[in-house]
Subunit: 79 residues, 2 copies
């Protein structure tokens, strides 16, 4: 069973990495880029076949390790 986790900075939290990308795109001649936000994308291969258990498990992983809950949001897709 595969879990896909997106970890993004909360709104209002400064994203220097995103700003760096935005400026770099500008200097490469890409116009019309109003904002860039960079997040993390994590793919987990889980040995369980129980979708609900997998989702609960991955949520726990996000809270304990993957995401910094003070400044980051996470979203989980299980398939």
């Amino acid at each position: 069973m595969k879990a896909r986790v997106h970890i993004t900075l909360k709104n209002g939290v400064l994203d220097p990495q995103g700003k760096a990308i935005q400026h770099a795109l500008g200097s490469l001649g890409f116009d019309g880029v109003d904002d860039v936000r960079q997040g993390k994308y994590i793919e987990l291969d889980l040995s369980t076949t129980d979708k609900a258990a997998a989702e609960a498990n991955v949520e726990e992983m996000c809270k304990k390790l993957l995401a910094n809950m003070v400044i980051e949001n996470y979203s989980i897709e299980i398939e």
Copy 2:
């Protein structure tokens, strides 16, 4: 118009960051995690309203800046 870009390591490319996460999850007591791969997730706010042009533009950005085509794949969603 919003573009979401996923940048992932190609199959076969070593992912030390993913391995580190996998080991950390193991030491926290999360069993049954067979593999972890970490990628990047980039959200772009584009001022254009032409979906086809936006997609072509973002593809160009991936090739020129966002992804390292030697070791990384990218996928683009426009909405």
